[in-house]
Symmetry: C2
Subunit: 244 residues, 2 copies
Amino acid sequence: MSTVQRSPLTRKLSAFVSLSETELATLEHLHQRSRIFVAGRDLVQQGQSKQAAYILAAGWVCSYKIQRDGSRQIVDVQIPGDFLGLRSILLRTADHSFEPITDIQAVEVLAADLLDAFAQTPRLAMAVLWAASRDEAMVVEHLVGIGRRDAGARMAHFLLELGYRLALVGMGTKAGYACPLTQHHLADALGLSAVHVNRVLRQLREGGLVTFREGHVTFNNYDRLITLAEFDPGYLDQTGPLLK
Amino acid sequence: MSTVQRSPLTRKLSAFVSLSETELATLEHLHQRSRIFVAGRDLVQQGQSKQAAYILAAGWVCSYKIQRDGSRQIVDVQIPGDFLGLRSILLRTADHSFEPITDIQAVEVLAADLLDAFAQTPRLAMAVLWAASRDEAMVVEHLVGIGRRDAGARMAHFLLELGYRLALVGMGTKAGYACPLTQHHLADALGLSAVHVNRVLRQLREGGLVTFREGHVTFNNYDRLITLAEFDPGYLDQTGPLLK
DNA sequence: CGGTGTTTTGACCACGATCAATTCTCGTGG
DNA sequence: CCACGAGAATTGATCGTGGTCAAAACACCG
């Protein structure tokens, strides 16, 4: 359903920095190899070091960390257009794992190529730094949610943020969006148990706020949900480029 | 007590990318203005947009977000050599606030100067991107801790990480370190109540693991503490430059 | 149709929050 | 030098959010 003008990466970075023809060419050169991964089978193992990152072209992925005791924390969810494993390249160690939630299509970007591109077109590095900052802002917001919001507000905030991000790539509206996450995914993302996630979803549904059912999120009362979650999308804005 | 060869910023970035004389000069040019802030008075207000970042030269700072209901979540703690508000520059909106925990000395870096420097010396942008990635890795680890570790392990992990980072800048050892944080700071950082922080600290102390008292952290049993926290400092390593 | 995974609901429990009171420390002024 | 007040640390008592355990209903698939 989404409209892809050039490539997801180009579209994403153009939102931050308007790039010249040369820069666009360099960018397009980066992603030759497009790959398919099936749902459920991890892309990169935690701890393993692989010299490639990906740009998600289609499908959903989550990045997570596993504890010794088996519990899992999902750090964030990637939707089409998002980076995958950028940090792994830079720190040269994959500090977490990636699970494709659906079958996905991703464009492979080799570490060496990316670093070369940075050297040739500095503004590209700038754009990537910018994109990385936005990703970090999302993780920070997630941290605040888990640390200081109760289960209801946490869930509301998560569903709202996801909806907002999906709307930015044409995959959602204020009415709702298709969502392939299971309740177990939600639990691992929000630091809750799967059982409690179910209860919270019921409360929100019965309260007429939002419905999560059969792979679809429906906002029944967008405004009241925003109030409950204290959702402020400021940190997600990718309004106008800083550099011309 | 710490040994500063050139400037904190130079030392930090050199750990990632070995910089040429020209690049070092550009870097030094960045920080002319050194400023002092007193403990307790915030540097930048949340939501406000200020076109400057800082490199912390001396003292401790924490960055946090306040909720409508007054509760606070500390996102991370900065020690000498760390960036302050880098994201604020890039996203052009301070999405959180900074509280100096002690009196601090910080070097002001203007947004415009930084962006110019990036354009002139691309490798510098690379180095900053790298440093930002390490910061993000810390936030991620923090997120996992709050989401999936109980209060004891969370505290242990926090104190260990802080010790490890302080050791990197010569301000701590495996025996312990000076720590100006109050128990209330710990509570806001770990997503706990101040009362419970006190209880957890008592347990750790009576268990012979670590002592937090009178502004000093003493590791009584470093190995057992690491086991409890499942602490793996891999994400903190700033070993050898990726680029020569 | 059995098998596996997701959702749903109930009963009970525990970790950590909240409320409250006391002690300690330290800086400030009488 | 001591009295006072503000913050910080400490401890006890009680409460509630959310976890754990268990079982059933419901899917989807081979």
